[in-house]
């Protein structure tokens, strides 16, 4: 697993923006036409902020969520 630590600040804000855009907002059931495989930001907490999704792999049960 490759994890890249990045400085806290603007990068965290970017992660929040992407996370909330694809995890929040108005939901109209069944009409989200988007594969998120290409969205390569995964939130792992402040100590492991950003990592390419394909390097992180599945989130362990009870672990931090990624998108």
């Amino acid at each position: 697993m490759t994890v890249e630590r990045v400085p806290v600040g603007e990068d965290v804000a970017l992660v929040d923006l992407v996370d909330r855009l694809i995890g929040g907002g108005v939901v109209v059931t069944g009409d989200v036409l988007l594969s998120l495989a290409g969205v390569d930001l995964v939130y792992l907490g402040l100590r492991l902020v950003l990592a390419p999704a394909h390097d992180v792999g599945p989130v362990p049960a009870g672990g931090r969520a990624g998108r």
Binding site: L17, V18, L21, L33, L34
Partner: protein
């Protein structure tokens, strides 16, 4: 294919807003665009979209649609808008003048070991301690923000709180929470926003 972007109060969006088309339904307007391709699933595309949503939310109260939301054609857009217009209108009224802050909270002190490392008992104890400390830290943030928070959601990762605050108080609230975070040597606290109310878009019955 029609891609939906946001719901705004009827009459509040202009021709210049993002170059989007407008569909009126009840007291709201749905901002949308016709497109031949589904929304791109790249970070750059999502971020670009997000920046436009944030800029629009600075001028107009809005409910952002979840990124990637589409309907097939004008008939489906009309049906969706008619079905949801009342609920969207009520929620928009409640969210007008409000914005969202996201507060990251992480405990930085390691738990104290009580059993030899590697044992199942030690692991369970460490895990329970971590969970308890994290819960306590989140409760502390709720208390610190109680004066300003109108609604609050724990995000799915368990480390972030989405907090709905008055847009006028957002900067002050953020500064106070950040200062409080710096005073806590056992926590790492980071605040982002103000954002549109991404986490508060559920419809009210």
């Amino acid at each position: 294919m029609i891609r939906l972007h946001a719901v705004v109060p009827r009459g509040s969006a202009s021709e210049d807003d993002w170059g989007l088309r407008r569909h009126d339904a009840g007291a709201v307007t749905v901002l949308y665009e016709e497109t031949a391709e589904p929304p791109a699933g790249t970070r750059a595309a999502v971020v670009e979209h997000g920046r436009r949503v944030v800029a629009l939310a600075d001028r107009v109260p809005l409910l952002p649609m979840r990124y990637g939301t589409t309907v097939e054609d004008a008939d489906e857009l009309n049906a969706v808008a008619e079905d949801h217009a009342d609920a969207w209108g009520r929620r928009l009224t409640q969210l007008t003048g409000r914005c969202e802050l996201v507060v990251h909270v992480e405990v930085t002190l390691p738990p104290e070991p009580v059993a030899p490392a590697g044992s199942g008992r030690a692991y369970l104890h460490r895990r329970m301690t971590q969970v308890r400390r994290q819960d306590d830290a989140l409760d502390d943030v709720r208390t610190v923000m109680s004066r300003w928070s109108e609604e609050l959601r724990l995000l799915p990762d368990g480390n972030r709180l989405a907090v709905l605050v008055s847009r006028a108080d957002a900067d002050v609230t953020r500064a106070i929470v950040e200062a409080w975070g710096r005073s806590r040597t056992d926590l790492e606290v980071v605040v982002t926003g103000p954002w549109p109310p991404f986490s508060f878009c559920e419809e009210l019955s």
